[in-house]
């Protein structure tokens, strides 16, 4: 296990996000799934953004998991993730559908999945 995983960020959140408190887009839920997109050049990315891109290269993770693995407050992680989606380094996967009919289907799928674990 990497000792880096639980390391708390030593840098003040404001420095990490370049002084901004809010993401450029408001699309991130705690469970939005994020994954690296292609192999864009990483030159010029801040150390924190580099760590996020490195982490996301391995596969999909939720916003909350990315924050947890990197020891970042969720609010800070959202700002950085938003920048990285804007710059094309990351992309998001669709999350829960909104329509009522599919909500019922979704709940049924959750229920079936839970029952299968008994």
């Amino acid at each position: 296990m990497s000792p880096r995983r639980n390391e708390r960020s030593l840098v003040r959140p404001h420095v990490v996000t370049g002084g901004r408190a809010h993401p450029t887009r408001n699309v991130f839920d705690l469970v939005t799934l994020v994954i690296a997109a292609g192999d864009l050049p990483r030159a010029g990315l801040s150390p924190e953004k580099l760590r996020i891109v490195e982490l996301c290269r391995g596969g999909a993770l939720s916003v909350a998991e990315i924050a947890g693995h990197l020891g970042l407050p969720v609010g800070v992680a959202k700002v950085l993730l938003s920048d990285l989606v804007d710059s094309g380094h990351l992309t998001t996967r669709a999350t829960a559908p909104a329509a009522q009919q599919s909500k019922v289907r979704l709940l049924q799928e959750v229920l079936d999945g839970l029952r299968a674990r008994l």
Binding site: R4, T17, L30, G59, P73, L106
Partner: protein, 198 residues
């Protein structure tokens, strides 16, 4: 050139397209962390947010240094339910004043499982208020501690002022089967509610 960080991270399966969440809530030391840990397939993770007493993010108060801030931790875990679907469980703190954190937690959540302890039923009122204010459907699970009194369901319902349709179950947060059954009761209830509203 895989970093150690990436190589031992439990990623979400490639086929998964949908992620949903359920909140596990309750007063101090009622068993939230235990419950999430029992059901999660990944080692539970924890994030910390620095909040002001007023409930705003510290980030919103840049430059103001003498505000009282508190660190609020929430832990969460993950369950893969099908090739397509993962469920996240968030153990949420019971403090009402962290409005922004609660808005964030509740947004898009399917519902909440409220853990209660029969020895301290009154301590659950505050957290039930939050869940109701957030408009989240919920079920109540008595996490049975050794030595806690066993009351008939009717008395617990009355003490917590539960609607007749709200599921009340008993569970042991340390036990996987029992904890899964509590979650099933919640989702069953959510399904009934959604089938009723056209």
């Amino acid at each position: 050139m895989d970093s150690a960080l990436a190589s031992d991270t439990p990623y979400v399966r490639d086929s998964v397209r949908t992620a949903v969440k359920v909140l596990i809530v309750g007063h101090f030391a009622v068993g939230k962390t235990t419950y999430v840990g029992t059901l999660s397939e990944i080692r539970p993770l924890r994030t910390e947010e620095r909040m002001t007493q007023a409930g705003a993010s510290v980030d919103d108060l840049a430059g103001i240094r003498d505000k009282t801030t508190t660190t609020v931790a929430m832990d969460f875990g993950r369950l893969t339910l099908s090739d397509d679907l993962v469920l996240y469980l968030f153990g949420a703190p019971g403090q009402q004043r962290f409005t922004r954190l609660w808005d964030d937690l509740a947004r898009g959540a399917l519902g909440a499982l409220i853990l209660v302890d029969t020895a301290r039923l009154k301590e659950s009122f505050a957290v039930m208020d939050i869940v109701e204010k957030q408009g989240l459907p919920y079920a109540v699970a008595v996490n049975h501690f050794d030595g806690s009194p066993r009351f008939p369901d009717e008395e617990v319902r009355e003490a917590l002022d539960l609607a007749a349709t709200t599921p009340l179950i008993t569970c042991d947060a340390r036990d996987r089967r029992s904890s899964t059954e509590a979650l099933i009761s919640l989702v069953d209830h959510l399904l009934t509610l959604d089938a009723e509203t056209p």
